[in-house]
């Protein structure tokens, strides 16, 4: 596969890793946060972690939209699906996430609610077109990578005057979460492996203020193993040289300004919510999106008068500490015993890109 295979070459990986081992200073540690779950998985799946020197640690970040979505938002969606005659469309990742009551979209579907897994927001739009007598709600989640497609279907639905389609918007933004982690300081990190495809949309400029304020080195890194290892080397060099710059390793897909067409589309349809709750990070101001008034007819929260629900996490689950970079998954008493990918108790074990799922799939015996 072009643009995949050449970024997975074993010998190059070993050579780059050997350079990292040569260049790290033995007198200090290097705690690097990979913001995205995609990076966490690359680090374990390709064995990158085994190539690193002992004094270099990867700290796992909150870049997993399924993981940071508070369970109350899922409970609200279940309530919507069960109490109204709607078809609820969701990405597959969300289906098995447990709520505080140990319920899930999957269980609600088993009880008879019309909940359908979709691959693309376009699928939800087509379901609405094919079922004119039913209300169809798209449960939209995701960071800036996934937001423009939602904006695109909202705009299409508006142009088509599709009256039976609406969106339950849960889109969140990367820079505010990063700023929160850096201002809290609990994760004690020395550098950040910056988001790949989020940056494709928002551009490398988006991190400039945050990195300057906290003097934090950041390297935007692709998801392939050589991308991750080269970016790690770039971070080690920044740290050794006392620099805190925003650097871009993923130049084949990330520019300084990002995809401006996608940004314009998001701006047209969405606006910032004053406050939004993140699992693990709490209530963060200006960190999530809601649908603008001009597109208010397509806002499921308004159409169905959806109320905020507070839902506690399952007792013993340390997802919040994992998502903040404070604890590793194997510090959790539930990990690998009460909580497994087959019987998940926390979102980080459910999502294919959650840190707990990565530890379980690739690293639990370490």
């Amino acid at each position: 596969m072009k643009y995949v295979d050449e970024f997975r070459d074993r010998e190059t990986a070993q050579a780059l890793a050997a350079l990292i081992k040569t260049e790290v200073r033995p007198v200090r540690t290097y705690r690097l946060m990979e913001f995205c779950g995609g990076h966490t998985h690359a680090i374990f799946r390709f064995g990158i972690i085994d190539l690193m020197p002992d004094n270099l640690q990867f700290v796992h970040g909150p870049g997993c939209p399924v993981c940071v979505l508070p369970a109350g938002r899922i409970e609200a969606a279940i309530k919507l699906a069960e109490e109204n005659d709607v078809i609820l469309c969701s990405y597959a990742d969300l289906m098995r996430v447990p709520t505080g009551k140990r319920d899930s979209l999957h269980k609600a579907k088993a009880r008879g609610a019309d909940i359908r897994m979709i691959y693309s927001p376009t699928d939800a739009l087509n379901i609405a077109r094919n079922n004119p007598d039913k209300q169809v709600v798209f449960f939209a989640i995701g960071f800036e990578t996934t937001t423009p497609p939602t904006a695109a279907v909202l705009k299409t639905a508006s142009a088509m005057q599709l009256t039976n389609f609406s969106v339950y918007c849960n889109h969140v933004q990367t820079p505010p979460a990063m700023a929160h982690i850096l201002s809290a300081g609990d994760a004690k990190i020395d550098g950040i492996l910056g988001p790949s495809h989020v940056s494709t949309i928002i551009g490398s400029h988006a991190y400039a203020d945050c990195c300057k304020q906290y003097q934090m080195p950041l390297v935007i890194a692709g998801f392939e193993p050589l991308d991750v290892i080269q970016s790690t080397l770039m971070l080690v060099r920044q740290i050794n040289e006392g620099r805190s710059d925003v650097e871009n390793q993923y130049t084949r897909l990330v520019t300084a300004s990002g995809n401006t067409k996608a940004q314009a589309l998001m701006d047209e349809v969405f606006e910032l919510r004053p406050l939004f709750e993140w699992r693990g990070l709490g209530q963060l101001p200006d960190s999530a999106l809601r649908i603008k008034l001009e597109y208010g007819d397509f806002d499921a929260e308004k159409r169905f008068d959806m109320q905020e629900i507070r839902s506690a996490d399952i007792k013993g689950c340390i997802c919040p500490a994992v998502l903040s970079g404070i604890s590793n998954p194997d510090a959790c008493v539930l990990f690998g015993t009460a909580c497994t990918p087959e019987e998940p108790k926390g979102a980080c074990m459910v999502s294919s890109e959650g840190a707990c799922a990565a530890y379980y799939a690739y690293g639990r015996h370490r």
């Binding site: 596969m1 040569t22 939209p65 399924v66 693309s120 695109a152 991308d227 067409k261």
Partner: protein
Amino acid sequence: MCLAVPTRVESLDSAASTAVVELDGIRKEVSTQLLDEIAIGDYVLVHVGFALERIDPEEAEKTLALFSELRAQETEA
């Protein structure tokens, strides 16, 4: 969630803002609403049925060339 795959554009329907892309023999129709300039033969990054961005072939080559340079540095070291 943010995972996306590099695919090759096989055909374009500019009126519908869609393209047929190919990856390892698998073909799929995707939306090109998020991109302005796109041509047959381009490689684009696909996520949830949308082409997010065109892959810059020159920048990809530069990164690969840098890998070669770094490998040379490692051999010297």
